[in-house]
């Protein structure tokens, strides 16, 4: 995860990638429900290389306690089994002594291949609604400033986002947002909450000298706070609240937009 580029950026790309992935198959399509990226490139047969060997080698070098490994597996399983999701996201990014905050509501239906973002903060994007439809390969963006719904091709919009974020070179990382199994993970803290719920604080040694502090509770196993440090310096924090896993979102709930003129680009 390229938190160096900003948590908000990462989130948008994550969303874009989610709905761009044609292989986000439903449970009927794939029993394992792995996330794969379809980058609209012609598929070629895998050439034999030593990637798997190197991967195994790297994995063997990772030290992780049994308890930490169990937590990591639970998180991974929670994400893998998702059909749809609704969550409030608060992203605070620290840029040159300034805190930049993005608040949004995210709804994703893997089953219907739809995603919706409602921006609440900052004011520069407040009221904007973005609906991405992977089946139709379109993005609808409601623009309050013109009271118009702009329709764009999903592929073009994805490229815009990726170019803006400069991470188009390594899209495969998008699939591992909540998969910490490839990193060294320590449990720093375990707090027993009311109702028998345990809150874990994980330290994840991420690549490029980044350290992620991930908070997750064992009632959902969905991370509710991720802080990113570069060395000793806090880069930003993403808080996830009002998480609804598999709430059964309907197509109408995700795609409804204000009554406005539609302009195709």
């Amino acid at each position: 995860m390229k938190y160096r580029l900003g948590l908000s950026a990462a989130l948008i790309v994550f969303l874009t990638a989610l709905i761009s992935c044609s292989a986000l198959a439903s449970a009927e399509d794939s029993p394992t429900k792995t996330i794969q990226l379809n980058l609209n490139q012609p598929q070629v047969e895998e050439e034999p290389d030593n990637f798997s060997e190197k991967y195994q080698q790297v994995m063997q070098e990772i030290t992780i306690s049994e308890e930490a490994a169990a937590v990591v597996d639970q998180i991974k399983a929670a994400v893998e089994d998702l059909k749809d999701l609704a969550v409030d996201i608060n992203i605070t990014e620290i840029r040159e002594r300034r805190n930049e905050e993005v608040v949004l509501h995210l709804m994703v239906s893997i089953e219907h291949k739809l995603a919706r973002i409602e921006f609440n903060e900052p004011s520069a994007v407040r009221g904007m609604i973005l609906v991405a439809n992977q089946a139709e390969m379109q993005v609808h963006i409601f623009q309050p400033v013109t009271n118009v719904i702009v329709v764009r091709g999903l592929e073009d919009a994805s490229k815009e986002a990726l170019v803006a974020l400069s991470i188009g070179q390594d899209l495969t990382q998008l699939t591992s947002y909540f998969d910490f199994s490839q990193y060294n993970v320590d449990i720093l803290e375990k707090v027993e909450l009311e109702g028998g719920v345990t809150d874990y604080l994980l330290q994840v040694d991420a690549p490029e000298e980044e350290i992620w502090y991930v908070r997750v509770r064992d009632d959902s196993w969905f991370p509710h706070e991720i802080s990113v440090y570069e060395g000793e310096v806090l880069q930003g924090t993403m808080r996830l609240s009002n998480v609804e896993l598999d709430p059964g979102l309907s197509v109408e709930e995700i795609t409804c937009l204000p009554d406005a003129k539609i302009e195709k680009m």
């Binding site: 994007v125 407040r126 009221g127 973005l130 963006i141 400033v145 009271n147 919009a157 803006a164």
Partner: protein, 234 residues
């Protein structure tokens, strides 16, 4: 100023606007035939417009275009014309636009309401900032008459805007004339309404687009004149 020089200036400006603003104007994408009735009697003509849209990031875009119309009034020797080139940029909740124009009729309110005036050139700019369903903005217009007098007019128009069953805008006009304005735009822009009370008096304009037919109906009323028109788009 000599009439030939005046006409040359207007034509020159129109040519400049076309050349400067058109990017790939291989063909006009919207054409219409306006038929109107007003103080000059029946007027008919032709309107053309061309616009290109370029995405700017995920949440922004830029529109560049040209447009204009030419109408001939019954029994009048000179045709009325109005041409412009414009650029609009939208970035999130921030939008701004710039328009350069020239012609022999006033800048259209909502749409074309031809009313003869001195040949002129001018510029219109607008900055808009929304905060979700409410926002504010500032518009400004300057116009120089291409005549012997060379009259200069300008106006600065701050406004507030909110969205509720459409877009409502309340504005104040400052500058060469003082007044207040109210405009309403139905959510799908099928109905537009503009009411202004300025030094010259009260004016009202309404525009209705028929969604099933390529027609736009308009009516305008000012202290001096009333006008109705039909525009047929093809």
């Amino acid at each position: 100023m000599q009439p030939w020089l005046r006409n040359l200036l207007v034509l020159g400006l129109i040519g400049f606007v076309f050349l400067a603003a058109s990017q790939v104007a291989l063909a006009f994408e919207a054409e219409d035939l306006p038929f109107s009735f007003g103080p000059q009697g029946w007027q008919t003509g032709l309107g053309l417009s061309q616009e290109t849209v370029k995405p700017m990031g995920l949440l922004g875009y830029e529109k560049t275009g040209i447009g204009g119309f030419l109408t001939q009034a019954e029994g009048q020797e000179q045709a009325l014309s109005w041409f412009s080139g414009h650029k609009q940029v939208i970035l999130g909740n921030i939008g701004y636009s710039l328009e350069l124009f020239g012609g022999t009729t006033g800048r259209p309110i909502l749409s074309t309401f031809p009313s003869g005036t001195q040949p002129h050139v001018g510029a219109y700019g607008e900055f808009s900032r929304m905060y979700g369903s409410v926002g504010h903005g500032l518009a400004g217009q300057a116009q120089l008459s291409v005549s012997e007098v060379g009259e200069f007019e300008y106006s600065i128009i701050p406004y507030v805007q909110f969205t509720r069953q459409g877009v409502w805008r309340f504005s104040v006009s400052l500058g060469s004339s003082f007044g207040f304005g109210l405009s309403y735009q139905e959510p799908r822009e099928r109905v537009k309404l503009d009411i202004a009370l300025v030094s010259e008096g009260l004016s009202m304009h309404v525009l209705v687009s028929l969604s099933e037919h390529p027609l736009t109906l308009g009516a305008g009323l000012t202290q001096e004149q009333a006008q109705v028109f039909i525009r047929y788009w093809f």
